[in-house]
């Protein structure tokens, strides 16, 4: 295993615009790190730069402090699991698992022992002599994961949206298997996804990528509770964070002229961010007009609803017990200690 350090990584294809622009990233030895971003954020480019399939336009990548500028893909000792299961069709599962070892000159018997260990770990034993076309998508992707883990000295395992092709019921199972082997083997993993649930449940730390730039790196709690950037606030959470224009004047934070709470910031415009479950619509607080109340689920005998309302020209969502919410004019209370404030898109 290795720690990964990326600094000032920039890449462009041909003479086009920068796909990655000055990426800094630190991944500790044995860490599960997720890279989260929408399509076109540069996630796959980042993976290909890490694995050595692409060479960066500028910037440096180091594994355990060793600069990799002149080290090509095969020597970096990186393994990757792709979006769709990539298996060698002519080889059975055992052959697929042993492929990276045999390429590196392992003897047949030694490779076979190692393949059996990995198969044991991922419960692939019964499939060892099957050809890929006889496997389900789930089994195929498990085999691909097994092949990524088979080298005992693998420095880094990259996962490129590995759950995309798997049927929904098997996603959870696959994620569990990944978590388990990562803990057992102490693997350094970088997991690329556009799915926040996958990132939040898989990773110890998450890097949010947007248009080739890092918006924030932090724990799942950091990204959820203290998004560093409005784009992160909107992207994470379902629905995302409520963002409402506000104004600071005379030591008060005001939305649509109504005072929300005392505020020590300099006077001026800002944006107030709060999660749907940090607010409550009822009889006290700032006036809002409720547009709709949608029942969600019942938790502990209480029906929870998603309330959509308008305040200060913005639409907000609030998640709260059903019986307190009704259509028409109401008031919203927002826990002031959890509020996140933004100016020019960045957290204050």
């Amino acid at each position: 295993m290795a720690s990964v350090s990326v600094s000032g990584l920039t890449h462009k294809y041909g003479g086009n615009a920068k796909v990655l622009d000055g990426i800094d990233l630190e991944v500790a030895d044995g860490e599960a790190h997720a890279v989260l971003g929408g399509s076109g954020a540069g996630k796959t480019t980042l993976l290909n730069l890490l694995s050595g399939l692409l060479r960066p336009s500028s910037g440096a990548i180091e594994f355990d402090g060793r600069d990799l500028a002149d080290v090509d893909a095969a020597e970096r000792n990186v393994a990757q699991v792709f979006q769709f299961p990539v298996l060698y069709p002519g080889l059975d599962v055992a052959g697929n698992l042993g492929f990276p070892l045999r390429n590196r000159g392992w003897r047949r018997a030694a490779a076979q022992r190692r393949v059996e260990e990995v198969a044991e770990l991922l419960a692939l034993g019964p499939l060892l002599d099957k050809k890929p076309r006889a496997l389900s998508l789930f089994e195929k992707q498990m085999t691909a994961i097994g092949r990524a883990l088979v080298r005992p000295d693998v420095a880094l395992v990259l996962l490129d949206e590995p759950l995309t092709a798997v049927e929904p019921a098997a996603k959870w199972q696959l994620r569990q298997a990944l978590q388990r082997v990562r803990r057992e083997l102490g693997l350094t993993m970088i997991y690329v996804t556009h799915d926040q649930t996958e990132a939040l449940t898989f990773a110890e730390r998450i890097t949010m990528l947007h248009q080739g730039k890092v918006l924030q790196t932090g724990t799942p709690e950091d990204l959820y509770e203290r998004p560093a950037h409005e784009a992160v606030a909107r992207f994470i959470g379902s629905p995302g964070m409520n963002l409402v224009s506000a104004r600071v004047s005379n030591g008060e934070l005001r939305i649509g002229g109504q005072s929300l709470c005392p505020c020590t910031l300099a006077d001026g415009n800002c944006v107030v961010g709060f999660r749907p479950e940090w607010a409550n619509i009822g009889d006290t607080g700032i006036p809002v007009s409720v547009r709709s109340v949608r029942p969600l689920s019942t938790i502990g005998g209480v029906q929870v609803a998603l309330v959509t309302a308008e305040v200060g020209g913005a639409t907000i969502h609030v998640r709260q017990p059903m019986h307190t919410a009704g259509n028409g004019q109401a008031r919203v209370r927002i826990a002031p200690e959890r509020l996140v404030l933004y100016r020019h898109g960045r957290r204050l």
């Binding site: 399939l53 893909a73 393994a79 990757q80 979006q83 990539v86």
Partner: protein, 286 residues
Amino acid sequence: MQPSRNNKAWFAVAPVVLVVAFSAIVPLMTVVNYSVQDIFDVNTRIFVGLDWYRETLRDPRFLEALLRQLSFSALVLVLEIPLGIWIARAIPRQGRQTTVFLIILAVPLLIPWNVVGVTWQIFARPDIGLLGAALSGLGVSYNYASSPVDAWVTLLLMDVWHWTSLVALLCFAGLASIPSAYYQAAALDGAKGWRLFRHVELPHLKSVLTIAVLLRAMDSLMIYTEPFVLTGGGPGASTTFLSQYLTTMAVGQFDLGPAAAFSVLYFLLILLLCWIFHASVMRRDA
């Protein structure tokens, strides 16, 4: 729901059925008809059963031509398939060069058989041909008109020159359809050279290679024009393949009955070989 019967669809198919009937089935049945009769003139025919078939299969010249034919086709496949794959792998996958390569490769495919034959006939002549004269000048004894080995070498060169492009283009299409993730995975798994070809490329080339082998096998089993133009089947009978011998019989000697039996056997042979090949590929797939 009951499937509704709409027999009108047959009217749409009818023209094709008619064309196929006149172009393939009727001539074929005529040949089968000839093959069981001894024909003296239009009004004098004797039914002879399978006599012509027995005679053909016992004819040493038929058996020699068959052996030559099978050897020639085997050599064609052994040369053209690996060479075609090698060329396909050497073509850059994208960029402006790709188009140039593909166009150059396609050129031989556009040239008619007899033109290829004439071109090589002249090109390889030891007195005035560029290749033949150059070899003579270097002191290499080479003359396709007198040496059977030289005639075979020339024919094989001609066929390789004419048809390897087909294999290469088919394989290129096959290679181009391999998703890039396979190459990426192979690069990270440390597969290079032969192992990359064997485990990543070859499995994905299977279906196009099946087509390539079938096309080249069928076509080379039917070769006629090139040896006819080059040496007329000589020197001696060294390049007299099945079609050459058949033509001598049917057109030269006007032995319609034996020639018809020969034709049917020839047709069945090609069909059988291709079927065996195709079936063995399919069985391994299942």
